[in-house]
Amino acid sequence: MTGESWGLLALLLGVTLLCVKPLGLYMAQVMEGAPIWPLRVGGGLERLIYRLCGIDPGEEMGWKRYAIALLAFNALGAVLLYALQRLQYFLPLNPQHLSAPSPDSAFNTAISFATNTNWQSYTPETTMSYLSQMAGLAVQNFLSAATGIVVAIALIRGLARHTVKVIGNFWADITRVTLYVLLPIAFVLALALVSQGVIQNFSAYKSATMVEPVTYREQATNAAGDPEVDRTGKPVMRTVTTRTQILPMGPVASQEAIKEFGTNGGGFFNANSAHPYENPTAISDLLEMLAIILIPASLTYTFGRLVGDPRQGWAVLAAMTILFVLLYSLANYNEQVGNPRIAALGVSEAATALQPGGNMEGKEARFGIAASTLFATLTTATSCGAVNSMHDSFTPLGGMAPLFDMMLGEVVFGGVGTGLYSMLIFAIIGVFIAGLMIGRTPEYLGKKIESFEMKMSAIAILVMPFIVLLGAAVAVSVKAGQAGVANPGAHGFSEILYAFTSAGNNNGSAFAGLSADTPFFNIALGIVMWIGRYWPIVAVLAVAGSLAAKRRIPVTEGTMPTHGPTFIILLIGTVLLVGALTFVPALALGPIVEHLMLWSH
């Protein structure tokens, strides 16, 4: 690993750590409704929203009502998004006169954006009108992020409160998060991105003539739009040559900001953050990475603050940070080492002043190894899914890093809200076993962990591996699934596994190489995204409700502290063990064997 790689990591984590306390504190105050000036300024608008919607923000809900409100709100969002896409041809702000996406694609996209996954089976610039992007996708970018955050807040309340049955008012929570956290910061961030050159317009696409013609090969599709395969199952390729290039335009900056800040990840363009209109400079790249990590990291402080012991939050943050550094090292090291077959051709892969070295396939030359692998680790460790390099082109182990980041359950910072609540569930499971080992009924933050919490925690954590493994198993077994694979073999298996892992964890990044805009993948991944998002949410809310109703046990000498190094190691161990034990066999057949094959020659 180069000095640049470490330096960039230190810069990102350093700035993040500086922001954790102020942003975490601000979010805590917003959720508590503290009398701070932003709440006074926005109070009028907030009250107006409540009045229009007939909401009594003071009326708190039990976990079941909270869950029903959340599910209804999200389902409605998905339905509206589906309708908007299907009707976009007839609606304004469509200078390219784009027709409606296919029903299965619209279904997939609607779920994808409602669940904060932002898996994009479509190519945005040739599919979505500006209205669909702004009023559909961007709105869901805000609301799905807010949904994740309020679930985390509800779980925090469950831990902080005692002997009450209520965990907050969903409508008030989601309004406050959107109004005071997401909107203002996304606004500032959008302006900052515009300053770096990110575009923001409603123009029609521009056409440019290239200096040299470009020839490339792509997988042929049949009349139905499905990728074609020959009799042996190999994809049919065709050669395309072109001289003109279309430059898509659009209101990019406004969507780019919340894409990262809400760990959504759905790009305005297909190339996502590798596209110069989305991510033009080194500064914009750093800003986007910071935007991805800020809320997930800061929520740990919000957590510590609201449970009345900031050390608890710092411990969780420490565990996340250590895991992050490990995962980044895995990706960065392997990318920097490069590909032995290229080295065998006499091509130097060493990092010098003139070249970043390593495996540069699929990476923007302007980002190099460090910024590409850091972005890749960050976007997969959080549930963002935006990309500035093509993960499919990583070396086998370098590509396994983002895959494994997701398999850990998106808890290494994780998605906004989801990262914290999933990590706290891991803490509950870790504390359960550790608590037994010191001879007491396990407790976390003074709350006894009993069978109901265990049942719900188990559901929250195990749903993901279940749907990911099952989805991938179905995909490799049916023709419609096998047909999408561009690189049969271990790598093709990785592609399918990656797609389902990304969907099951609501990440949304793609390994690429998989033609996923087919009815089979659209529907299968849509279902996986839906289950992967809402089953754990309901389980987490159930845990929150059950914990809130419990008495708080006072801390004694016999209580296991959950803020020291032992706890941090325990938490890291639990996350790694559950992730590794579940997915090692599958990984062995994908990236691990691919790596062994690559290096055994």
Binding site: L436, M437, A458, P465, L469, A473, T556, L581, L596
Partner: protein, 687 residues
Amino acid sequence: MRRKLSMFDRALLGPAILDSLRKLDPRVQWRNPVMFVVYLGSILTSGLWVQALVGHGEAPAWFIFNIAIWLWFTVLFANFAEALAEGRSKAQAASLRGLKQTVEAKRLADAADRSRVTPVRADRLRKGEIVLVEAGDYIPGDGEVIEGAASVDESAITGESAPVIRESGGDFSSVTGGTRVLSDWIVVRITANPGETFIDRMIAMVESAKRQKTPNEIALTILLVALTLVFVFATATLLPYSLYSVAVTGLGTPITITALIALLVCLIPTTIGGLLSAIGVAGMSRMMQANVIAMSGRAVEAAGDVDVLLLDKTGTITLGNRQAAALIPAAGVREEELADAAQLASLADETPEGRSIVVLAKQRFKLRERDLTSLHGTFVPFSAHTRMSGVDIGARQLRKGAADAIQKHVESLGQVFPKAVLSTVQEVARRGSTPLLVSDGPRVLGVIELKDIVKGGIKERFGELRRMGIKTVMITGDNPLTAAAIAAEAGVDDFLAEATPEAKLKLIRSHQAEGRMVAMTGDGTNDAPALAQADVAVAMNTGTQAAKEAGNMVDLDSNPTKLIEVVETGKQMLMTRGSLTTFSIANDIAKYFAIIPAAFATTYPQLNALNIMHLASPFSAILSAVIFNALVIIALIPLALKGVRYRPLGAVTLLRRNLLVYGLGGILVPFAGIKLIDMCLQLVHLV
């Protein structure tokens, strides 16, 4: 019951082996979801073996046979662990059942008329019937003495050979069926129907027939089932993955069902799954070895969670009796003079306090004990009226008694009570001691300080408890001053002075309202409400029936200090579960390294790079992992039955220690174990 059973007692092994076979009944297996998966796997592999025998097997028949056999062994070993734990409990129960011999009871139609007895079989006695028990008779059933007093040999249940007195009224009125009256007679009202007596319930409890899963056991089972499910999916999906890999690479053959089942069984937490119920049974039986009968496993488990211990001062913290510790003469009196008078006044006093005064005088001034008759003294016994005792020798009137009694006595003789003595009295009381005054006629000689003697080592014990996070509260009838002084000397965290049953109940409730778990001991009927309220309530076997009914444990030795052992046993049980769970899960890492390269050896030979143990062949690797998985259950049976040792080190140190031993150990041990088994298999040329 008194006899300690060794871990693998020969008398227990035989029945345990038979029982493990009997437990192969699917209805029994179904109760343990983790082992049920192994059970199904065993059946399936046996089927595959038969298939291989008749011709078209997926792997060589000898290999499938070996896997199947060892899977069956895994099930049997788990059964054996449970059977052994139950066997030990049953052996303890059997010794209790010895008490249940059928005896003839002497039923009385009228409690007042002891001349008309009807003989009736003890096991036919109903609740409310009245029986006469005379010297040499066995008490026919649990009951309450309503008339008379007798010395009773209760050694059969307590192991204590000294007989105890049982009499009507008060706190010593309850008798247990199966014990024997040694002298005198008592009339007993039977308080339990046949089959519901104390011993019946004890037997039912230890035989585990009625054993229900405790809350924590249920929570752990949920976690284990969840892990099992995830491993079922992780392994089941390997088949399509493997089929796909074979199809696209065109190499090798897909993973065999046998290998998949072997992998699954190795990965699911069979170690803890197989030992879980044995740990629970062993917990109850360890309580039993400490001569504590727990009414439920839930009570044992709750004991581990106790935050507050309420301990009676007398008998638990201090020795039962106060002892003379110092002599403080009044102004103008020599200490030796006071000692002499105090000794003379106590010569005829046979109470422990009185004896201690004689002893103190002898120690301090070598005053030899004198014979009262040779001094021609007259003993003046203690009376409730004067509240003094003493001796009259010639003209001397030596008296000792409580301060106000002596003051009254002196003042009645026309003397002014010296103020200085009064302040000494208060001083002594403040120290937590009891002042006794000695007077010679109207002259006050000084004060004897009677001290509560705190039991040796008890302070260290409380320190240990504090490190365990347990707060100790001393309960005493003394005034707050006295109580505070003793509390400080004994090192308890808090005390409740001038305790009444209501005050005790209130204290327990207030602790519980703060979320604490409270344990207490008690014996009297007036303790019953507090016992019923406490989370862990140990009733003394010498206590009343009401106290025993209210508690959830009974201490047969009636030793209040036992509470500490009870807590430790509860903690041990939880620790054993947690440690074995950690060990079980940590084991999986090595098993992956053994099985994954082997299972896909034909498709992806490159995966052999992961065979870091250098296991000889794919067959040997899979078989070694399965054998290790089975043997580790047997190897850990002693630990499951004895329990992980509890050390009061504080939560963090304890956790770090156990994580290191069972977590890190759990990762490393199987690497060595599997390699060793692989080498043995090579030696015997099995693979």
